[in-house]
């Protein structure tokens, strides 16, 4: 048992509403009871949290020095004009944030201030979506016990926002050896529509752990487009959990873009809890060297007439290791479920490895659920065709790699973000 986190808990300032204190204690008790998952835990079969556990991270130190806006320019992901919430080392950084341009009907604030200003909203939803009552969710339990800050977004009924809201989580020079537990809550009311970018990045090269949880609640007819970017430095550890709960006719579109961190585990969960709702979970992970990145998706079809679509693509170079585990759970009453899952992997090196595992549990009889996985290498004929046009071997590899990813990048509806991620994809394997 790792006692460092218990010490972190003991050191937490006694503040915030009483419901939170009770929830923290509960979460810590679960964590203490279950401990960290081992490879025997089916959900963690291919990813060992041992390197994280053995690192004995300390509570995160505050920002080392004030950060200039120009220092965060590389992380703007499409536009610096979008409303922006910046967090440095886990704490809200108002001087780097800009929420003045938020449209009427949208509120965005830090969790720390929401606990003071909007305790009712927070109490109503926080911790109600992301379950932590299993060993597999040890990191969710830890986050729940130790959360300090994050963002709270509320979109009022019938509000349709065209510009996305960007939540940017940065770590700096002081972050080496520290852990943060960012906690986000997104509430989209009836028939409202919003796009969010949730991005994790590093301003320095130290090793830290980001253990993030995002809960999203979508009321009837609501739409949430959620772009999650994990671009932390190559020594970072990252555990992330996203849990969305959908009511009738709600739509959740998730895109997980993961290129950073030495070791990362990202869960994207959605519960289709209302008839006619649907989830699209897409993703692209690009790894190199000794990077390990594990995506687990889980779609729970709890009601009839819902759809789910999943397309995850992985590009693996060096001695990297990718994991994709796509779970689809169809309840007995969820008739007419329409589900499709695809995982395609491109191996750029002999040493790279992918473990891909679809996992369908279907208890209804009138459903359409398909899944498929492919693992391949760059096509030799395409490569020859390009080189015969004068394109060098290195550029050919880069272009064909990009071409592999293009299909999933095209699903990003937010054009400036798509363009930015396309450029990042083209540049990802430029050094060969």
């Amino acid at each position: 048992m790792n006692t460092a986190f218990l010490e972190h808990f003991a050191a937490l300032p006694q503040e915030g509403p009483s419901f939170l204190a009770a929830m923290r204690r509960d979460a810590l008790a679960r964590f203490t009871a279950h401990g960290f998952p081992t490879p025997r835990n089916e959900d963690w079969h291919f990813t060992s949290p041992a390197p994280i556990v053995e690192s004995s991270f300390e509570p995160m130190r505050p920002m080392a020095a004030p950060i200039d806006r120009s220092a965060i320019a590389p992380w703007m992901a499409g536009s610096d004009e979008w409303p922006l919430l910046v967090f440095v080392n886990g704490r809200f950084a108002p001087s780097l944030s800009s929420t003045a341009s938020l449209p009427v009907g949208v509120r965005a604030m830090s969790l720390a201030s929401a606990l003071l200003e909007e305790p009712t909203l927070v109490e109503r939803y926080l911790g109600r979506v992301a379950s932590f009552n299993e060993q597999a969710f040890a990191f969710v339990a830890l986050n729940t016990a130790l959360m300090r800050d994050g963002s709270v977004i509320h979109v009022a009924r019938d509000t349709r926002v065209s510009r996305p809201l960007h939540m940017l989580f940065l770590t700096d020079d002081a972050a080496d050896g520290g852990v943060t537990h960012p906690r986000n809550l997104v509430v989209v009311d009836r028939n409202a529509e919003v796009s969010l970018i949730e991005q994790y990045a590093s301003l320095a090269g130290g090793r830290s752990l980001t253990n993030a949880v995002t809960e999203a609640v979508l009321d009837d007819g609501a739409t949430l487009r959620h772009y999650r970017l994990q671009r932390e430095n190559m020594r970072a550890f990252h555990t992330g959990h996203v849990d969305a709960r959908l009511a009738r006719d709600a739509h959740y579109h998730s895109f997980s873009f993961a290129t950073g961190a030495e070791l990362s585990r990202i869960n994207i969960y959605a519960t289709l809890g209302g008839e006619g709702s649907g989830a699209t979970l897409n993703g692209l992970y690009m790894l190199d060297d000794v990077q390990h990145c594990d995506h687990q998706t889980r779609i729970e079809h709890a009601r009839p007439n819902c759809y789910s679509r999943e397309l995850y693509k992985g590009i693996l170079d060096g001695a990297s290791h990718g994991v994709f585990n796509g779970k689809v759970y169809v309840h007995a009453e969820a008739q007419k479920t329409d589900g499709k899952q695809t995982n395609n992997t491109l191996l750029l090196s002999e040493r790279a490895r992918i473990d891909t595992k679809p996992q369908l549990e279907i208890f209804a009889d009138d459903v359409k659920c398909t899944h498929g996985a492919t693992v391949g290498r760059l096509d030799a004929l395409s490569a020859f065709y390009m080189r015969s046009r004068g394109i060098t071997a290195a550029t050919t590899r880069r272009l064909l790699t990009y071409a592999f990813a293009a299909e999933v990048l095209e699903t990003i509806e937010l054009e400036p973000l798509r363009t930015a991620l396309e450029a990042l994809t083209l540049a990802r394997y430029a050094g060969e």
Binding site: S388, I391, A406
Partner: protein
């Protein structure tokens, strides 16, 4: 410009080219004809540097350089262009981006300045006209979902943009309707220069009415069994290949 001497090549353990000798001088057009499976495409691909074939004998000299020692892209930089018999589809890379990348990489290799996307569009507009292609095709993925004829036109468009010194056209005429054939042939002719040369692989005399060859070679079973002037193509049209092939087609193959 190009001197092929005793060229032999295998795929797997099968010998496909069994000693090809021919030479092409600047300004010339050579036609290569011959039955299916005789090795025409293999010869074309070996000249372009296809890594799937192993050269087991002979030499190829291009502008005084050892062509066989060059990477495929170096051959392109030196002015060689192969219009593929079966152009390759590359979903996810737009035709425009592909062409601009190729164009710029060739310029870079020659120590010339790269062209910016705006100026490149002007180059493209002009070349599109040459092959009578719609601009919309530029935004589509390379050859992806193109019809057979569109793919062939796209090859000629690439050729028109890259302006090779030695163009090798592998059955660019097959699958083209008669109007498209004329467009493609006009395109090829418009690009002819005294300092350039063209090798045309075809089954049909009709293309040679438009692109008139100086020499015609007949390839059978991995060897050139006859060479002649443009009249040879007419002969072949009338008489077929049998009279030229003195050994059974499969003899020696795979041995």
């Amino acid at each position: 410009m190009l001197t092929i001497d005793g060229l032999r090549a295998t795929a797997g353990d099968r010998e496909i080219l069994r000693g090809i000798t021919m030479s092409v001088a600047a300004g010339e057009v050579h036609a290569i004809m011959g039955p299916n499976g005789s090795g025409k495409s293999t010869l074309a691909q070996v000249l372009a540097g296809h890594p799937g074939y192993e050269v087991t004998g002979g030499t190829v000299e291009y502008d005084g350089r050892d062509l066989l020692a060059m990477e495929p892209e170096e051959r392109a930089h030196a002015g060689i262009f192969l219009a593929f018999q079966y152009p390759v589809e590359i979903p996810g890379v737009s035709n425009a981006y592909f062409l601009r990348t190729a164009f710029n990489e060739i310029r870079k290799a020659r120590g010339e300045e790269e062209i910016d996307p705006m100026d490149f569009l002007d180059v493209m507009a002009e070349r599109l006209k040459l092959v009578d292609m719609d601009e919309a095709m530029l935004q589509r993925s390379v050859n992806s979902g193109f019809s057979g004829g569109e793919k062939k036109r796209n090859e000629i468009l690439q050729m028109a943009v890259l302006e090779p010194r030695l163009a090798i056209l592998d059955e660019t005429d097959s699958g083209l309707d008669i109007d498209a054939l004329r467009v493609v042939a006009d395109g090829v002719n418009a690009l002819r220069r005294p300092e350039n040369a063209t090798i045309v692989v075809t089954h049909y005399q009709r293309l040679l009415n438009y692109i008139v060859p100086d020499y015609v070679h007949v390839l059978a079973n991995g060897r050139i069994v006859k060479s002649g002037g443009k009249e040879l193509a007419l002969d072949l049209e009338a008489r077929g290949y049998d009279w030229l092939i003195d050994e059974p087609r499969t003899a020696g193959a795979g041995a």
